[in-house]
Symmetry: C2
Subunit: 393 residues, 2 copies
């Protein structure tokens, strides 16, 4: 069994439940912090655990370039490499190739691109993207897709959607033939040398027979009919979970919501549904209430690096001089280890002085705020009530 | 009472004991990590506590420029500002003016210099350096001195030593007249508003009547007779502790040791003795065995940022490609939270990928190694045995 998904409660379209992966359970709806290069920038793994993070997202494109799939694979896979024993999801690399490579060339075979690091030439195909993700060994991996640009003509949206569907079938085919090659799979690596570090960290042996789960991705641009078609035909191919891709690419937020809502109608209720690349705290609450189970976004971590804190009282731009003598905690209603200990004045000083600790502390707080937000959403779904964000509006 | 120093055991010239400050006890010999701008770069304060750090060093020059003494003072002093309830020592600013300002002008009054940040003009005098250090409110503060450059003619060394002696007397005079102005001193601030963050952190009220302790600094260049004279005349002025300054400025290590050894003979055994700006793990062990009680150095933290780890097996330059697939912990004999969890391969990847977590983890390990080293030194002094470093040589 690759993945179990158990829905525990429904409220309206929203649901709360559990994803059971080879590396532990994940309560849903879940926000997945982004650990691009096998690290959530600046935050040690034990602090991530303390925050209650149950699943991290890694970027295949970045890990493929550094340290390379082979290195990670030889070292036992991403969990063991980064000493993270809980669940991991990797994207397919498709979105990064789309967003970081102006010179990419898309063909039926795949996407040729140049490394943003050294200009070297590479080719991602559905097969090579699956091979990379099997080597990295995340619990949930993603079909290789083309993220349609916005705006786009309908013909372009359709052509791109068709390509993604053909690539989805190829992704699934390759995955089914090679899924036993995951570094932590059952027998194959049972005799490999024991890690000399604490063997209980990042090295817990998944249950025998457990494997990765491959999710399909719905595309179709901003067209309702194409989204419906993409959803139905992706479901026909058949995956243990479905993602909605191609959103948050510059379109207005109303349109995002509109597409999410209509696409969800065509995805099976019993499978996990993952909205890629969103969003603000308000948005993740809203999407959870539309029936989304999984989300990821660089926003909390990236904003932290730019001195932007998410708080129960709204956004706080901690770099501002107005906080230079402010003895209050960043968020008076937050119980995270940053808000328990430090003042806005101190965080402002760290940011203004380019101290690395600013990034560490701001990131810990923002992640804590996101995790607390999703905890509240799950709680309110369980209670059958509306979420705090929605009810206060 | 400003400071108590209790010697608990002697072995040869070495001694182990306790400094009792207004913000807790410090076991000696002690290595004091440097927190230049009210932060040990990249490491949250709770991790510093976990490492067993009992005293941090802050740099008056840097804090004077950012966030400014007045800001720190208004916020209750450095302990409360940076949420660090344990002991702090600040330097006088003299050394940074010496090392960061090529355009400084030294006169009888003090040192005129330009900020390395914005070129603005400033003047440090013994009185203003004391005022700044009283405003910052460290437990131990340092007399304003001139750090003699190396190499220097004897006449220059003597003239510089005389200036430092006159400044020491002025420092003490100003301090005695103003020491009640420390932000956490007894009654004066008792009615100030309670911090809204956890009031137990960085805000523990020192015992009534406790105050800062001002240490004198011995100069005299690399001349034994001048060092002797400087020590004797500084002791005549009278301080609760004495530092040896003007070393680690480019002279050979044999000369450093030689000067330390001869200077110590002229410092009172019952007072704490602080060797400023050293050193490697081997050096701090050696100096502790010569009878030094306190040391500080940027080496463990700065080296960490450059990918250099101190380990029980020697230095490890973690950036090297040879560690790319090395599953061993950074130091197989270290029990710190980095060595318990992560492999060399992972740390190498973080460094090679410019991940901020590299700095965080490398710094935690190096500080742990330094703290463990001093723990072992204290233990071996207590046991009356030779230190591990010396006995293995």
């Amino acid at each position: 069994m690759s993945l179990q998904f158990e829905i525990e409660a429904n409220t309206g379209k929203a649901r709360t439940g559990r994803l059971i992966t080879a590396h532990g359970e994940v309560e849903t709806p879940v926000f997945m912090p982004v650990g691009t290069l096998a690290s959530v920038k600046g935050v040690p793994q034990d602090l991530l655990e303390e925050l209650g993070i149950q699943i991290l997202l890694g970027n295949t494109y970045h890990l493929y370039l550094r340290p390379g799939v082979q290195t990670v694979q030889q070292l036992g896979g991403l969990h063991r490499f980064m000493a993270w024993p809980r669940a991991i999801l990797t994207d397919s690399g498709g979105f990064q190739v789309f967003s970081l490579n102006d010179l990419r060339k898309v063909s039926e075979e795949g996407v040729a691109f140049r490394s943003h690091l050294d200009g070297s030439s590479h080719l991602f195909t559905p097969e090579s993207a699956m091979s990379a993700q099997i080597g990295l060994g995340a619990d949930i991996i993603m079909a290789f897709d083309e993220c349609t640009e916005y705006p786009a003509e309908r013909a372009r949206m359709q052509q791109s959607m068709e390509l993604t569907l053909r690539w989805a079938a190829r992704s699934k085919r390759y995955f089914e033939q090679h899924k036993e090659e995951v570094p932590w799979s059952g027998v194959r690596h049972a005799a490999s040398g024991a890690r000399q570090c604490n063997p209980t960290v990042g090295n817990r042996r998944p249950e025998a027979g457990s494997s990765q789960a491959l999710f399909g991705i719905v595309q179709g641009g901003m067209d309702h009919a194409l989204r419906k078609e993409s959803a139905e035909r992706t479901v026909e191919i058949g995956f243990p979970g479905y993602a909605i891709g191609g959103l948050s690419v510059g379109e207005p937020r109303d349109m995002t919501r509109d597409i999410v809502e209509s696409t969800l109608e065509h995805l099976p209720a019993e499978k996990p549904r993952y909205l890629m690349g969103v969003g603000t705290p308000e948005e993740i609450v809203e999407y959870a209430h539309l029936g989304i189970d999984m989300m990821d976004c660089v926003l909390p971590t990236r904003a932290a690096r730019h001195g932007l804190l998410f708080t129960s009282e709204g956004k706080v731009s901690i770099k501002q001089a107005r906080y230079a003598a402010d003895e209050q905690p960043p968020d008076p209603n937050c119980g995270c280890r940053v808000c328990r200990r430090y003042s806005r004045a101190y965080l402002r000083h760290l940011y203004a002085s380019n101290e690395v600790l600013a990034q560490v502390l701001n990131t810990v707080h923002n992640l804590s705020f996101y995790l607390d937000t999703m905890r509240a959403v799950r709680h309110s779904i369980r209670l059958g009530a509306k979420a705090p964000f929605l009810s206060s509006e």
